[in-house]
Symmetry: C2
Subunit: 184 residues, 2 copies
DNA sequence: GGCTACATGTAAGCGGTTACATGATTTA
DNA sequence: TAAATCATGTAACCGCTTACATGTAGCC
């Protein structure tokens, strides 16, 4: 049932990697929609190996440092495909601390509510800028079936999402400012 | 550090409630951005009570059924305010199984990729429709400082988010269909 | 009388985070 | 030679889910 195994199998389906390299992939490439640290990854790799979904060969770098380079097996590829073909129900809840705060913000002064909205807006604009910079690295839309095509779709989704959140936050700020101005 | 306590304190700041009623709030009112079941709520209420953040009085309904109606204390209100005033960093990762699948979808046939995108689109459209129905219940924008105003802002955000996700998914489908058509 | 909703708890297990623990290699 | 990075593991703890467990009240 655990999803981490599919994330690992998926990454290994793109490229053979060590546990260390996998953990870097989690914090750099796919951190927007999944993450894991080495303390989860190493035990999971052991489990996947025990069940025959991955295998590894040991490389020696330098004189004695052992590296386990993992690759996905045919059995692992079947498990990955099985999961990919299974339709996913969108979860009813996406936990979001900021939204929770906003929901209870009637306890706050109007200035403070605007302050917290502005703070979120700044952070979202920063993230949007970062994603737009990532998009610049693509000089054209990658052709289908390449791994880069999926990257592009996900990046596009991220940009659209951040843009909308920024619009929403701005609209919230505007609505909060309308009130006091009218009464003055 | 646990956020559940703030969710409970926030709900109790709106209205005195029993643990049972709280659990219903989680599954009906705020389920979009937080959730919890009674097996988490009851122990948490006990902890909050032990620390003086909430208190309760026992009501008897019928002849013998005991209900503990909880209310937030002054100390609890201070803790809630402290949290509300603390700026929240947006988390780097929002786990999303569908995006993870899409990221590895180069292993899939083009038809299957479109199928999974279409499936998500259907689900998102359904949710959007539901949120739009909720919005109809507001015949006007509630005035600031009322609890309903926050409800409205959150609902607006949900609608904007779902609309954008639908647009994104549609765009993904279009881009996946462009390729094959060209080659035919 | 039977079903659904009301009402309150505990326990086992899982996924995930943080900290503990060790050692080699590379680079400044 | 000291620091950063590479590399692999384990352990304790926490939040959350699922299941266990019990009993009352209201409705058909």
């Amino acid at each position: 049932m655990g999803k981490l195994q599919y994330a690992i199998l998926g990454l290994l389906s793109r490229k053979d990697m060590t546990g260390y390299e996998l953990s870097k992939e989690f914090t750099t490439t796919i951190f927007e929609f999944w993450n894991a640290t080495h303390s989860q990854i190493y035990p999971e790799l052991k489990r996947l190996n025990d069940n025959g979904f991955v295998e590894y060969k040991i490389d020696i770098s330098g004189t004695s440092l052992e590296k386990k380079t993992y690759s996905i097996t045919e059995k692992g590829r079947l498990l990955l495909m099985e999961w990919l073909e299974k339709p996913v129900r969108i979860p009813p809840t996406q936990k979001d601390e900021f939204r929770l705060q906003l929901f209870f913000s009637h306890n706050l002064s109007p200035e403070y509510r605007i302050k917290m909205l502005q703070n979120q807006l700044n952070q979202r604009q920063e993230r949007l800028q970062h994603l737009l910079n990532c998009q610049k690295k693509f000089d054209a839309v990658p052709s289908e079936h390449t791994a880069a095509f999926s990257d592009y779709l996900l990046l596009m989704g991220g940009i659209m999402r951040e843009e909308t959140i920024c619009q929403w936050l701005q609209k919230c700020i505007d609505m909060c400012q309308e009130g006091p101005e009218k009464t003055q």
